[in-house]
Amino acid sequence: MSLVDESFELKELQVLEGHADRVWSVAWKPATGFDGVPAVLASCSGDKTVRVWEQSPSSGSFQCKAVLEETHTRTVRSCAWSPSGKLLATASFDATTAVWEHVGDDYECVSTLEGHENEVKSISWNASGSLLATCGRDKSVWIWEVLPGNEFECVSVLQGHTQDVKMVQWHPNMDILFSCSYDNTIKVWAEDGDDDWHCVQTLAEANNGHTSTVWALSFNATGDKMATCSDDLTLKIWGSDLLTIQSGNGSAPWKHICTLSGYHDRTIFSVHWSREGIIASGAADDAIRLFAEDGDGLVDEPKYHLLLKKDKAHDMDVNSVQWSSAGNRLLASASDDGTIKIWELISLAGDQKPPL
């Protein structure tokens, strides 16, 4: 039985309050939330701070354990944990990226990356934690190498987008970088083996791509599919031949699989694919929607169905939705209303739709 045959409820577990301005982004700390390790979540805000929240093992509720402040002088637009969870990187409108290390009970800013001309919009670590990518309003994408001793070296400055770059995201298991932009495109960047990075593919309107700003992108667990969301009110699913990519025999192009239109009537700011295959979207209509692939295998072309729509998930725009990777079906959302919400996806057993 596939996910689309089940009935679900998105249950609000907790509202996290503390930020004094809109919350832009949330990030679950890897390797937390299972095996007795309490779940940890970072959030960042227009109030120039980053907050780190930890789930209490006894009560199960999240509490703010740290406020990372007095480093960024403007909005903190996005945050990302390194794969090991040892470092937290934060991207700010003050044109810098800060890297924080958890030392004792405190978070210490161990490095500041300068170079972007102005607002840094997004940040992403590669799978091994050896590379860090940033992007911003100066239309550029930067790749930094992580060196011992919290040193960072600029590996590449990529100019290809013609407008503000909204988000960078590494492929979940290969060193291929994806960026999406106000110029309506998604660009794929790869190394040529000679330490030079190049744009190997541009997914634009002509490739069944988006017709307005692409705000975010996310990969499925295996990394052969990618979801993108846009101001054009659609989600798009893209696919690539993973075996070809892994064999290293040239680049496997990403192809448009399908477009999820008609579900949103306002800008979609965030998309995130859970490990079990549920796509969450956060949009300007204050709602959260969940989608899953129709697993019946009866048609060649995959179909995605709306599992549920949570109206009024927040009082204002939902800027970020993030599934926990711990397999606990927890979803965090961040909003212009200044709050973060923790949701649990609950399967309504006994209320299943009959198989077709």
């Binding site: 809109r22 227009g46 403007r74 637009r77 409108f93 044109a95 300068e114 170079g115 001309e117 102005n118 607002e119 919009k121 309003r137 100066d138 239309k139 550029s140 070296e153 600029c154 590996v155 590449s156 400055v157 100019q159 407008q163 503000d164 106000y182 110029d183 309506n184 000679d194 330490d195 030079d196 307005s212 700003t213 101001d231 306002r266 800008t267 700011f269 300007a284 209509d285 725009d317 212009d336």
Partner: protein, 486 residues
């Protein structure tokens, strides 16, 4: 004029994607491009997000965009702390072929100075040797009415000598004194790349500028020689000379219009510009094409040896290093002057992280006493700048060039032919650059020796400082651009 033509380092400053005419820059951008950065999105939620992400544009982005482009000069761009090359409408009137040709017709004494990198680019393009290209260019320009055709590898030797002396001075200041100022003496950073200078002044600001060599670039050096000294030998008033350079790089146009490179002979006299106009190699090729000239079959005229590195036998001479050889020449000079080590044979440049970052070291008694680096391209530039800012730079000299692969790969060079990769072209250019060009010590250049003897006295003299050195100025962010970045 497309901003793509400037070096990537300058284009990174191309920041104001939401710039409106009211905001610092007087230039209106190309209208009606989609998505149009001047027009905020129409849906209300997107509008909220637009302003949330770009708060300083509030109340500005909605202003109507003028459709008539406002003309601004490159000088306006230099003075501004905002974007410099994002506007397609930037006017390059003073820097174009038309201006060059009309100056000949106005009866000015036109002098053209050709860079060795441009020579190499044309040589690869036409399958000729650099010497043949130089001689044929002389024919072409003289046919058009140009008075003299000079060679900036000649003035570069003067630049290199002044740089060697400056390095020794800085090194001694750093090692013999311990005051705060002496800490700013090293590393010394080369100053010949205008893309780097512009980035340093606009983006990095005052912390980096003391490290930059005060010696003028070969382009400005030859301009200063012509308009201060050679003009007298030619019995032409400097104001009657129109001096054009042919360069591998669009950014050289920005260098030529700097106020620092304008002087007056008398207090109330006419302002004299060292370099009146810069043509790129590509623009020169356009000239050749527009005149339907069969370049390869042009006659080979004798060279103007007044300011050209051409020896009696007819062959060319110059220094090794296709971006000017600053690190190499200063390294050799410092090794000899400071440590009594004469280095015979080629220097051992070690590739550090990529082919655009190389270092060379001198060891004396097992101790590294000199460590220089070549650092080309924006990414490598970023890393050395980070190190300098953190006080962790282990180099005493840095040859920084904004373009990957250095000056042969300048934005003004002739583009690869169909089917030719950029990397292949660079390899051809590197080989062609020194083809039949004899390596020669700048200190032994008879023309430069003559200039010191007749005019500049000696390296580092007051006269040399006056004519061959310059200053750098941090661009203070204007109030409007600060508002932009609050």
């Amino acid at each position: 004029m497309s901003s793509e033509k400037f070096s990537a380092t300058l284009r990174i400053g191309d920041l104001n994607d939401y710039i409106a005419p009211s905001q610092g820059c007087v230039v209106s951008l190309k209208a009606n491009s989609n998505p149009n950065p001047n027009t905020p999105p129409t849906s209300s939620s997107r509008l909220d997000k637009f302003y949330a992400e770009n708060p300083a544009t509030l109340g500005k982005a909605v202003k109507p965009v003028e459709t008539e482009p406002v003309k601004i000069s490159l000088k306006d761009c230099l003075a501004c702390s905002g974007c410099i090359t994002s506007a397609e409408t930037v006017m390059l009137e003073k820097q174009s072929l038309d201006e060059f040709l009309s100056s000949i017709n106005k009866g000015k004494a036109v002098i053209v100075s050709v860079s060795p990198q441009s020579r190499a680019s044309l040589a690869v393009h036409f399958g000729l040797s650099p010497l043949q290209v130089f001689k044929k260019l002389t024919t072409l320009f003289k046919t058009l009415g140009v008075k003299a055709v000079f060679d900036t590898s000649c003035s570069r030797d003067l630049t290199l000598i002044e740089s060697c002396y400056e390095f020794i001075t800085r090194y001694r200041q750093c090692h013999l004194t311990t005051d705060e100022k002496s800490k700013l003496a090293l590393p010394m950073i080369s100053s010949a790349c205008p893309g780097w200078i512009c980035y340093a002044e606009k983006t990095l600001g005052s912390y980096i500028l003391p490290y930059i060599s005060s010696v003028k670039s070969p382009q400005q050096t030859i301009g200063a020689i012509i308009k201060n000294h050679i003009c007298q030998m030619l019995c032409i008033r400097p104001e009657d000379i129109y001096h054009v350079t042919v360069m591998p790089c669009y950014d050289k146009k920005l260098e030529a219009v700097r106020d620092d490179f304008v002087f007056q002979v008398e207090a109330q006299g006419e302002k004299i510009t060292e370099v009146d106009s810069v043509l790129t190699t590509g623009e020169l090729l356009d000239l050749v094409k527009s005149r339907s000239v069969d370049f390869a079959s042009l006659e080979e005229s004798p060279l103007d040896k007044l300011l050209a590195n051409a020896a009696e036998g007819g062959h060319l001479y110059g220094v090794h290093g296709s971006s000017g050889g600053y690190a190499e020449i200063i390294f050799r000079y410092a090794a000899k002057t400071l440590f009594g080590k004469e280095i015979v044979g080629p220097l051992n440049f070690k590739t550090i992280r990529n082919s655009d970052f190389k270092e060379v070291t001198l060891e004396v008694d097992g101790e590294t006493v000199l460590k220089f680096a070549l650092c080309y391209g924006f990414r490598n530039l970023q890393n050395v700048v980070r190190k300098i800012k953190a006080g962790k730079c282990e180099y005493q000299f840095l040859e920084i060039m904004a373009c990957p692969s250095g000056c042969l790969n300048g934005g003004g060079q002739i583009k690869p032919k169909a089917g030719e990769s950029a990397k292949d072209l660079i390899q051809s250019l590197e080989l062609k650059y020194m083809e039949n060009v004899t390596e020669a010590d700048p200190l032994e250049n008879p023309i430069i020796k003559g200039l010191y003897a007749e005019w500049l006295d000696e390296p580092g003299s007051e006269k040399a400082k006056k004519h061959m050195h310059t200053e750098y100025h941090p661009i203070v962010k204007s109030i409007t651009s600060q508002l932009q970045n609050w």
